[in-house]
Symmetry: C2
């Protein structure tokens, strides 16, 4: 397997996933560790460093660097992670310095990126997005994440925060999600909100298999249950997922109007509910796009699952190599 | 005044506006002609060619080229204009060929761009947008137009159609505008829709000055009347314009979430109603943006008025020069 090689890290609230990636061959080997966020940032950094060390040692040649997809706010220079939610005690950490002090020069260059952006970049080079120059990525999970790939690169916006699809409104007088934005799409299809909608909607439908699945307490409804019930042909569950897909189509339609990027890749846990949501989104998106931009609209599922996070993080390093060569040439 | 020089054309349904532009000095001289769209495309092209010829002759040195901001669909290569609305008989015209056949080499390189994009580029280099690397431009007139400037360049999307802010929805079950998109912002603040809203809202407010201004037939309400009445302190008119501004803020908030571009320049006829609309938009936009992206949001009026259309069109030629130099260097 030919180089160059880089390490890609997907830093999550529960796990840290890490992979050694070859530019030409993709994922070589991966491993993971508990994040142990409750022990504070020094412990998290130790855990990351240990994974990097393991993988760097297994690389056929020195790794060029480490890419990290992280929650929290990333600075424009892509070196520092600011206050990731659910990481107590983490204020502002320069990741390059943190790894250099633990590993010396072993880690090489260190580049940080927003986790949604890293996943989209992974899709662009190793996943479903590799078929397209440009696409919108939306991640359906606890929240609704998003990212924009334009010309196989992350579209970062003026300060690196672009792609917050989850906070786009579809009804200016609608319900509020965490961000305080009325009618934000997350307030409909974020996990908690979707489960609540399902509870209300299925409450008086005793025929739905969801009652049995949730042990007759609808507060326990999960998107996974909805998917399983839908697969069994449960009408109520199918309706709820189609309702969610319709809303998703609305917000994606708005994004297509603004960006003229007509390919959408859907990832994240809820994307497992697949076509029950996506077929509905495919029907509604077209109704929310101006006729001149409707041709060629597609909504696809990410095929590489969560791996795109690590792969995209590693690719940050390969992009950095390209940019350095480009600068040397001019 | 130093060169290089280019001609910028703002092709409208009623008038063709043209300017000789110096890269360093801006607008040198401008002129205009009736479009005469009803006589068909050949006549329109003759009219454009005559303006180009007049201006090229007045240039201190041969013009590098002609930039044209046009309605209709522009191809990705920026050479061809497809079916502009209200231009009967115009199917698909290659503008470079059309001008070369009329003027020979006099016109130089010919570059076409969507009129909203051209105006935004003009703002970026000669207008209110020149203070920013990146901004969203929204044009309030008969319709609601939009464009995105990113790194002082037009963000074109995958096929050149980006920036259709007017078709973004703010209420997925809202009223429909021309595009058929439910709740598209144009269905609230496009000229016809805003006038209708004003009619309904002021119908039973005999105290509003609008009744007198519209000769007691509220079907004749124009945005200009609303502005004049607001300046006189008319409560009803002020309320209507604030209502419009609120809606504008909603859709701009969605755009900021997606793009992380926090500066907005507002142009077009209705922008004359200025702060009656914009102050309201400034209050609402923040409520529709996720907290992490709220800092530094600004909504400003374009200060160069309609001139930005011609200026931006000419600037397409200067950009082309830069790109050619860039390619020669690598």
């Amino acid at each position: 397997m030919a180089g160059p090689f880089a390490v890609g890290i997907d830093l999550g609230g529960t796990n840290i996933k890490a992979a050694l990636v070859s530019r030409t061959g993709g994922l070589v080997v991966d491993c993971s560790a508990d994040t142990e966020a409750h022990f504070g940032p020094e412990r998290i950094l130790d855990n990351i460093a240990r994974l990097v060390q393991d993988l760097a040692r297994r690389s056929p040649e020195p790794v060029v660097g480490v890419g990290i997809g992280s929650p929290g706010t990333i600075d424009l220079a892509r070196t520092t992670v600011l206050a990731p939610p659910n990481f107590p005690g983490w204020e502002k950490i320069h990741m390059g310095d943190a790894l250099a002090s633990r590993l010396g020069p072993l880690a090489g260059v260190v580049i940080v990126e927003n986790d949604a952006n890293a996943a989209a970049l992974g899709s662009a080079h190793y996943g479903a997005g590799s078929a397209f120059e440009s696409f919108i990525m939306v991640t359906l999970g606890t929240g609704v994440g998003g990212a924009i790939i334009y010309g196989r690169r992350i579209f970062r916006g003026a300060s690196g925060g672009a792609g917050e699809i989850g906070h786009m409104t579809i009804d200016y007088e609608g319900p509020m999600a965490r961000s305080g934005v009325a009618g934000a799409i997350e307030a409909y299809i974020g996990q908690r909100f979707l489960s609540r909608h399902a509870r209300y909607r299925l409450m008086n439908r005793g025929d739905s298999a969801i009652h049995r699945m949730a042990n007759y307490d609808l507060h326990g409804i999960t998107p996974k249950m909805l998917h399983e019930a839908a697969v069994e042909g449960d009408e109520g569950a199918i309706e709820v997922l189609a309702w969610a897909g319709h809303k998703l189509g609305v917000v994606l339609g708005s994004a297509v109007n603004l960006l003229d990027i007509r390919k959408v890749i859907v990832g994240g846990g809820l994307s497992a509910a697949g076509d029950y949501i996506l077929d509905s989104a495919r029907r509604s998106i077209v109704r929310y796009v101006t006729p001149g931009l409707q041709e060629g609209i597609e909504i696809l599922r990410e095929t590489r699952g969560n791996e795109v996070g690590m792969l995209g993080a590693a690719h940050l390093v390969f992009e950095w190599l390209d940019d350095r060569k480009g600068q040397a040439a001019t």
